[in-house]
């Protein structure tokens, strides 16, 4: 078996010599480009018709070399002194950054790939994008991490500018949530991933909640290759169990699994379309075929918890690389964890903020280098992905909230407080508070969506934190909340009632001639009060200014910008 020949026990020179011979012969033409015989062979039926040195050992870059195979991430403080900071990408909305110094992503996050020569192959791992087509730009997009647009630019930079051979792999987790909008986003994000040239994508639990839609990527439907792969998930009987990728001289065997803890969440998902089997058993079934394909590297994309992924890596040391979706939100900067004999355990982080690049080198002293790439504003927007985002936003506009299945949700506070009336109505009695609000960014919140490029004011995921009367994380209005600028013009922007609650009953009770007695007036007044302690304790602000949307949000710093009082008691 080639992999045995290439084990660490073999003289290093033998593998290197074999690889060099292959390289010298020139392997730019794949022997597997659509050859049905080769496809047969990869499934283990016939030996593959290799023009590569058949019978010769395959080089396994991860299983050779020195005891210190990973190059540590370069020191951020050691950036090229001659380098100029890139111009800030700026806020998506054009708001919120004027009072800050320009953001220098390289100063903040360091140079990437410092000292890297051209690798034999660059493996790019991503995953857990969680619906983050782009990062939310409340704090200024230049300060945010992630987004498919930057990811595409990064991949193109590796491929085109650096000329590196790249294999892009994703552990799955494209979207989150369950709504018609999530389905539309899913299709657009899959299109973006196709544009980015992904070679293998694991199937994540969230996209599998839409089995019919995911099934439309089956080869039988589209008549072309599908990058989706899973050993234990099967959509309408069409999911590839593994993929064999020939990238230059390196042959990769890739499979993926959905972990059992996540699989439980799919127990009630359409069993006619979706079948999930035990991950371990599925790996046992697919491994012989992977091994028979004589790959240099075997890779498992594990869409599972971190613990389960570690367990799988330990149980199946045949895999050289195990990438998990279940790691920490921030992947390690200094290199992967080594499990078992030499399995490298890759974490990809969350929300598509990072990409992990493993460079494979024909260098026995340093065969592998690791780089955690923070997808920051050094990577400019990709026109291709921006076009997809525009198309996505146009579709949301075409569908409208009705077409997106958005339905108002009950609001228990309306029983006492009545309907939303809009901030303008508050001005006559609360002049000073209104003035404070008017000066704040909250009073321009809707406009920022309209001015964004492309506009986001038809996107429920954006609207929810820019208008009155929406649940910030459910992406739906409360009954009587904002519906559209045309239908509910008084409810645009983050207004008084966004924090205090609906004002109708209070307004009515305070009007001359109102039948409300003093007790009711006071009850309503009290129900609307939000103290500083309330705001902080009840997470009023951070329900929108969360770590994703407002990473720099600091309550003590920002509270004074909106602070206002109606009496001496600080209420």
């Amino acid at each position: 078996m080639p992999r045995k020949l290439c084990s660490p026990r073999m003289p290093e020179g033998l593998c290197a010599a074999a690889l060099l011979a292959v390289l010298a012969a020139g392997c730019s033409t794949s022997v597997f480009s659509g050859d049905p015989a080769a496809e047969e062979s990869a499934s283990g039926r016939n030996p593959p018709a290799l023009t590569l040195d058949a019978g010769e050992p395959r080089k396994n870059p991860l299983r050779e070399g020195t005891a210190e195979p990973i190059q540590k991430r370069p020191d951020p403080g050691k950036a090229d002194p001659g380098r100029k900071a890139p111009a800030a990408e700026g806020s998506k909305t054009g708001q919120g950054t004027s009072d800050r110094p320009p953001f220098d992503p390289i100063q903040a996050n360091g140079e990437f790939f410092v000292g890297w020569p051209k690798p034999t192959l660059a493996l790019v791992f991503t995953g857990c994008t969680d619906g983050y087509f782009e990062p939310c730009g409340c704090a200024g997009l230049d300060r945010m991490k992630g987004g498919l647009s930057r990811r595409h630019t990064m991949l193109e930079e590796l491929r085109r500018q650096r000329g590196w051979p790249v294999v892009a792999l994703d552990v799955g987790g494209i979207v989150k949530g369950w709504s018609p909008q999530a389905v539309i986003k899913l299709h657009n994000m899959v299109m973006a991933m196709r544009k980015m040239g992904y070679d293998a994508i694991g199937l994540g639990k969230n996209e599998l909640k839409f089995p019919g839609d995911m099934a439309t990527y089956a080869p039988s439907v589209r008549g072309n290759e599908s990058p989706f792969v899973s050993a234990n998930v099967d959509l309408i009987g069409q999911t590839a169990k593994m993929r064999i990728l020939q990238a230059g001289a390196v042959r990769l065997g890739v499979t993926s699994v959905l972990g059992k803890k996540y699989a439980v969440e799919l127990d009630n998902v359409d069993p006619v379309l979706l079948k999930v089997t035990d991950a371990e058993q599925a790996i046992r079934k697919v491994l012989p075929a992977l091994q028979k394909a004589r790959c240099s590297l075997l890779i498992l994309l594990s869409h599972a918890t971190r613990e389960e992924s570690i367990e799988l890596a330990r149980k199946f040391p045949e895999f050289d690389l195990v990438a998990t979706s279940g790691g920490y939100a921030e992947p390690p900067a200094d290199g992967p964890r080594i499990l078992g004999p030499k399995t490298q355990f890759i974490e990809v982080g969350e929300k598509g903020e990072y990409a992990i690049v493993l460079g494979l080198f024909d260098d026995p002293k340093q065969p592998v280098r690791y780089q955690r790439v923070i997808l920051d504003s050094r990577y400019k927007s990709s026109p291709d992905i921006v076009a997809l985002m525009e198309s996505y936003q146009n579709r949301l506009k075409d569908e409208g909230l009705e077409g997106l299945g958005v339905r108002p949700m009950p609001n228990s506070r309306t029983e006492l407080l009545g309907k939303y009336v809009g901030s303008a109505k508050c001005e006559s009695c609360h002049e000073e508070s209104y003035r404070v609000w008017r000066k704040s960014g909250h009073a321009r919140a809707y406009e920022t969506l309209v001015k964004a490029a492309p506009p986001r004011n038809y996107d429920p995921e954006c609207i929810s934190c820019h208008v009155i009367g929406w649940h910030p994380t459910e992406y739906r209005p409360y009954a009587g909340g904002f519906w559209s600028k045309e239908k509910t013009p008084l409810l645009v922007d983050v207004g008084c009632e966004s924090c205090h609650g609906p004002g109708e009953a209070h307004c009515d009770a305070e009007m001359p001639g109102s039948k409300a007695d003093k007790a009711l007036q006071e009850k309503l007044q009290k129900a609307l009060v939000v103290t500083k302690a309330d705001a902080e304790k009840r997470f009023l602000c951070v329900s929108c200014h969360d770590l994703d949307n407002s990473p720099d949000f600091d309550f003590p710093t920002y509270w004074p910008k909106v602070e206002h009082y109606e009496n001496k008691d600080g209420e």
Partner: protein
């Protein structure tokens, strides 16, 4: 009107490993045949090592570089002190570098340490609404040339004091007239008995189709959940009667942990008939396919997946297809039966061909859209209607 008479032939799709396995080449960035670096070992830049008099340099030593807070309450705040010591012979300077985000605060007790001296570096983190596993890092820059940067990390998990698992329930593909149940577990993360005091379904229109019941979870079961200190197991039932299409419901559960620990769990899903359509730009709720504005010189097409399930799937035929306007073309792909699955799949391509005349079917209501009518021999679904939102320009 154009009419096609179609008879569908089924073929069986194998699901064995061999068929479902594929070999692909990576063509976008082919290996250029250049053995880069071969024969000339790559020189890798490394931090410079110390001044000429190593015994006089500062040496930074940290008691630990990563600290696990374990489980944290979402409203809480945690901090940890990392102990820095200068084991060298000259003054060690410390400076704050970058932290993961401003939510991670870190402070240096001292900026300079004499030989043998120690000081704390404190890292503090407040989740501020974050839920899940976290790792936050902060860099301390030093003048120890061997370690110019020390990366400190704090890790842990943030959970609510009471948490539902899963936090949303999917009941997908419920056959029309059918029922379904789903398990729901509720865990407590404090040493206080957990009881369910009541629940209600928040969407009044469909509330009558849902039911729930809860009982204490065996200790062995909740002990299997990381950090849990109690639990309740529940069952959510969907009763027959919901109409075809998707539904969204939410159950609000009141617990013995008080108002702050009230839980809301979304219950989403679909009730399906014998024939359903899926695909990009298809809105199943409205029955509308959005193609948008098409350049006449380019044309456009969308491929949908038609799934037929139930007892009549094998003999189903799409017998007649009419389109209005007739420039809309429909191509029915090869129907495929799937082994061990009670379904037949049919690709359906809807096309605005190149050279189509100018047209506008972008209406705001269904009457203003294009319309494709497919007659079938299925006794329950004799007709399928696909509305198409599109326009042709140029």
């Amino acid at each position: 009107m154009k009419t096609w008479l179609l008879t569908l032939l089924s073929v069986v799709v194998g699901t064995g490993l061999g068929v479902a396995t594929a070999v692909y080449s990576v063509r976008r960035a082919p290996w250029d045949g250049t053995p880069n670096g071969a024969g000339s070992p790559v020189s890798v830049s490394k931090p410079a090592v110390g001044p000429d008099e190593p015994e006089k340099r500062p040496i930074v030593v940290v008691d630990q570089e990563s600290y696990d807070f374990g489980v944290m309450d979402g409203g809480g705040k945690q901090s940890h002190e990392f102990r820095f010591t200068n084991k060298g012979q000259s003054k060690l300077t410390l400076a704050k570098g970058e932290a993961t985000c401003r939510c991670t605060k870190f402070e240096l007790e001292k900026a300079e340490l004499e030989p043998g001296e120690s000081a704390n570096v404190t890292m503090e983190w407040a989740p501020k609404g974050f839920r899940g596993s976290f790792r936050q890092t902060a860099n301390v820059m030093t003048n120890d040339q061997r370690r110019p940067r020390v990366m400190l990390a704090i890790v842990g998990r943030v959970t609510n004091i009471v948490k539902a698992d899963p936090n949303d329930i999917i009941l997908n593909g419920v056959p029309a007239g059918g029922s379904k149940t789903a398990a729901l577990r509720v865990f407590a993360y404090a040493p206080k008995p957990l009881k369910i005091l009541g629940y209600d379904f928040l969407e009044p229109e469909t509330a009558k189709f849902f039911a729930a019941k809860f009982e204490a979870m065996p200790e062995a079961q909740w002990k299997g959940e990381q950090d849990a200190q109690g639990g309740v197991v529940g069952e959510i039932a969907l009763k027959p009667g919901l109409p075809l299409g998707s539904f969204r419901q939410t159950i609000r559960i009141k617990t013995s942990y008080g108002d702050a620990a009230e839980i809301e769990v979304a219950i989403n899903g679909t009730v399906v008939g014998d024939i359903s359509l899926f695909g990009p730009d298809w809105n199943a709720e409205r029955g509308v396919l959005t193609i948008g504005t098409v350049n006449a010189s380019e044309g456009a097409e969308r491929t949908l997946l038609l799934i037929v399930r139930g007892d009549y799937r094998k003999g189903v035929k799409l017998e007649e297809i009419r389109s209005d306007p007739d420039l809309l073309q429909v191509e029915v792909g090869q129907p495929q039966e799937v082994e061990e699955r009670p379904l037949v799949q049919v690709p359906l391509t809807i096309r605005v061909p190149k050279g189509s005349p100018p047209a506008s079917y972008l209406g705001s209501d269904l009457a203003g859209l294009g319309r494709i009518t497919i007659k079938t021999n299925h006794p329950k679904v004799p007709e399928l209607i696909i509305y198409v939102r599109f326009a042709v320009q140029g």
